[in-house]
């Protein structure tokens, strides 16, 4: 039990300590010494937190209440299987990206601030995973926005600041839309504790059914902002390119997933039975499919690598949301698998992009001809991860998409049961179209390529190892999915 608390508050406190202690920029002679201690502290904290989380993951228990906000609003923590899966993803990606940034951030100023917020994000993410009721979740959802915003605008350039603000306001907008729903849920449910089969009172459904549907839609839209769903996706392609690569990785792999987690929780609160077959579901399906297609298309015509990846994230997240919107158990499994697979893959891809930028300073795709010759390890990882995202067996991506398509076809929703898989396939094709050219040109620069300028620029181990780990994991999911699928089924059943 205490490990939950430790896994939440240890990184938060550590982050705050870093923020306060390293508030002035390091400079001159002290820089090296200061940096070393900073890295040591950060590294230790990351590892210790990871250990705490892992221990917490294996805890069983009913959860506990930290304190009461108001009379019937407890801050309540609990571990369930949904949380476990998310937490597992986080506990792998964050340290990886963290160690990656030890090298990546070497030349940046104000590293203390970066690591401080990084740790904060870690703690908040853990708290998000372990939240036991909606209000706790909302609390940390807001905090997540606040603490991750400094990561986005870390570089401090004008675009970065603007992007950070944009990210902040989009997220808050979503959060407040969600809060609107929470107010009504609070009055129409017995408690805000998470369930999977609906917490609305029967009387409330009969009285305000229509209105509650609207509320549900607003909540879905609101949390969908974080998950980059269509009308409010615009922050993603702005925020990713300006953030440092590891931050982008975390952002894309985990933070946007917080929106997905929220949607899962909200679905549980309303209950699938309540939403199935209503206009809410239809509208939601429409939005997700639009997002899927539009994201891929935009990515396809995007020349800047990180922005391309960002569009890709937009598209891929809506795969997940589509799976949830179908409200079918198989599709749910597909969604969850995609959460994990996409998490690893996108983290790997962003780290690769980061490594390329770090070493060569090139950001645009057409500049990267022959990059595979210069940084083979990185590019290999990039290629494998790309294949996973496209959905080539035996990677995790294939499996998840398979389940998604299967679930959609099973669901029996008119039109969408077929339209969904079709669009997913088209999108997969587009994915191939925007990711593979990079590998192809990277490894086969063509006849015109001047081999004379080629030089080995493989990054150091601190960068390649995390990338490799993540890539490997993405493949491993596809190969050994059974354990995970079992856990997912348990999660879907509410255990």
């Amino acid at each position: 039990m205490y490990f939950i608390l430790l896994s939440i508050f240890f990184p938060i406190l550590a982050g705050l300590f870093l923020l306060i202690h390293y508030r002035t920029p390091l400079s001159g002679e002290k820089k090296n010494a200061g940096r070393k201690s900073l890295l040591l502290l950060t590294g230790c904290s990351l590892v210790i937190t990871a250990v705490f989380v892992v221990i917490a993951l294996f805890c069983e228990g009913e959860g506990f209440i930290l304190f009461y906000l108001t009379k019937d609003l407890p801050i309540y923590f609990r571990i369930d299987n949904v949380g476990r899966l998310f937490s597992a993803l986080a506990v792998i990606v964050i340290p990886c990206a963290g160690f990656f940034s030890f090298e990546y951030m070497k030349h940046e100023e104000r590293e203390g601030r970066y690591y401080g917020f990084y740790l904060l994000v870690f703690g908040v993410l853990n708290a998000l995973c372990f939240s036991g009721n909606l209000i706790t979740f909302y609390l940390f959802f807001e905090l997540l926005t606040m603490s991750s915003m400094p990561l986005v605008l870390h570089s401090g350039s004008k675009e970065a600041v603007m992007a950070g603000l944009k990210y902040l306001f989009y997220s808050l907008c979503g959060a407040y839309a969600a809060l609107f729903g929470i107010y009504f849920l609070y009055r129409n449910c017995d408690s805000l504790t998470f369930t999977v089969d609906g917490a609305l009172r029967a009387s409330a459904i009969t009285e305000h059914g229509t209105f509650l549907l609207a509320v549900a839609f607003i909540m879905l839209l609101g949390f969908g902002v974080k998950a980059g769903m269509f009308p409010m996706h615009a922050w993603l392609p702005t925020a990713h390119p300006v953030a440092p690569a590891p931050a982008s990785a975390v952002l894309s792999a985990l933070i946007v997933k917080a929106g997905v987690l929220a949607v899962i929780r909200v679905l549980g609160m309303f209950g699938r039975d309540f939403l199935k077959g209503t206009w809410v579901q239809t509208a939601w399906l429409c939005l997700t499919l639009i997002t899927v297609f539009m994201g891929s298309l935009l990515a396809y015509r995007e020349p800047v690598l990180k922005k391309r990846l960002a569009y890709s994230t937009v598209s891929q997240l809506s795969y997940i949301l589509f799976g949830l919107a179908v409200m079918d158990e198989t599709a749910f499994v597909g969604s969850f698998l995609h959460i994990l697979a996409h998490g690893f893959i996108k983290a790997a891809l962003f780290l690769c992009a980061g490594a390329i930028i770090y070493k060569t300073g090139k950001t645009r795709v057409e500049e990267m001809r022959g990059i595979g010759k210069e940084m083979p390890v990185t590019m290999w990882c990039f290629t494998i991860a790309s294949l996973g995202l496209i959905g080539i067996p035996p990677t995790g991506g294939f499996l998840s998409k398979w389940y998604l398509a299967l679930g959609s076809l099973n669901s029996g929703i008119p039109v969408f049961d077929v339209l969904g898989p079709v669009i997913l396939l088209v999108s997969a094709l587009l994915t191939a179209g925007y990711l593979l050219p990079l590998s192809i040109h990277g490894f086969f620069p063509g006849a015109a390529y001047d081999y004379g300028s080629l030089q080995k620029r493989e990054p150091c181990k601190l960068m390649t190892v995390p990338i490799s780990i993540l890539t490997t994991l993405s493949v491993l999911i596809g190969i050994f999915p059974h354990l995970i699928i079992a856990v997912i089924h348990m999660a879907a059943a509410g255990r």
Binding site: M162, K166, F169, H233, A234, W235, P237, T238, M294, L298
Partner: protein, 319 residues
Amino acid sequence: MSRKKTAEEYQKTFAFRFFRWLSGEKDPYSGEVEMQPQKEYQPDPEAALRREKEHDAIMDKVYDTEHNKWMHLFHRLYQATSILFCLFLIALLLVTVSYLPAIGTVTRPVNNEVSGRYIEKGLEETGAINIVAGMILDYRAFDTLGESHVLFVATITVLILLRLNKTEKDEAEVNDRRFEPKNDAILQLVATFLVPIIIIFGIYIILNGHLGPGGGFSGGAVIGAGLVLYLNAFGFKKTERFFTEKTYKWVCFFSLSFYCLAKSYSFYTGANQLHSVIPKGTPGAILSSGLILPLNIAVGLVVACTIYAFYAMFRKGGF
């Protein structure tokens, strides 16, 4: 498509903006978040000057009565409405009059016990043969007291307005000389005859106020007229010998004081049901009807002086 839009035009289209938003390049906050300092208020002296000039110009235009079309129009309108108003008032009053009791009949409400008592008991109670004199100087003496003070206060205001101080007076006198008749023999001769007669007649009217038609005011006016004639015939030099501002002041003062005190006594005794010591005398005699005769004399003096004073004031602002 044959027509191609220029880049600038294209940027204004909805499609362009939509696409920018779609691809996340545009966001609703841009422009709002990037803040520019607001301009502090700076008073602009030139603007103030300009405003003043404009104001003057407008004022000139407004006061340019000759050429102001609106003003003329307004005048026309004003006159038209005023005539209409007059006609309306006439109509209203005529309607009212038509509903009033008929003239000359005994049954009008006016002929009630009040007038009846004045006629029947007036002689007995006031001792005056002239019932009107008895009424205004005894029954309704308070009104008459007020009336004489109206005259008094009017003189005061005329004094305030027209009386000149020393230096102005000299100047005015020089001016005035030019209009003075220069020893007009005929006028002087006629005046020598007429003035005493007029004044004597005035005195008669005053003294007979309680016995027949007449009284202080009419008699005083006649005397005043005589004095004015005298003045016109002989000039200020002559009149100043017996009538100066001082004379006027004291005559007025004593007359009014007497009037006030006498009436006060009478009011006081009347109100407190005391017996008044003033004898009524025999009706018809000169020395009769109690206070009416002295009061008439006092009023006559005041009026005579006032009439003369008005004339002198109007003419040259002093005596």
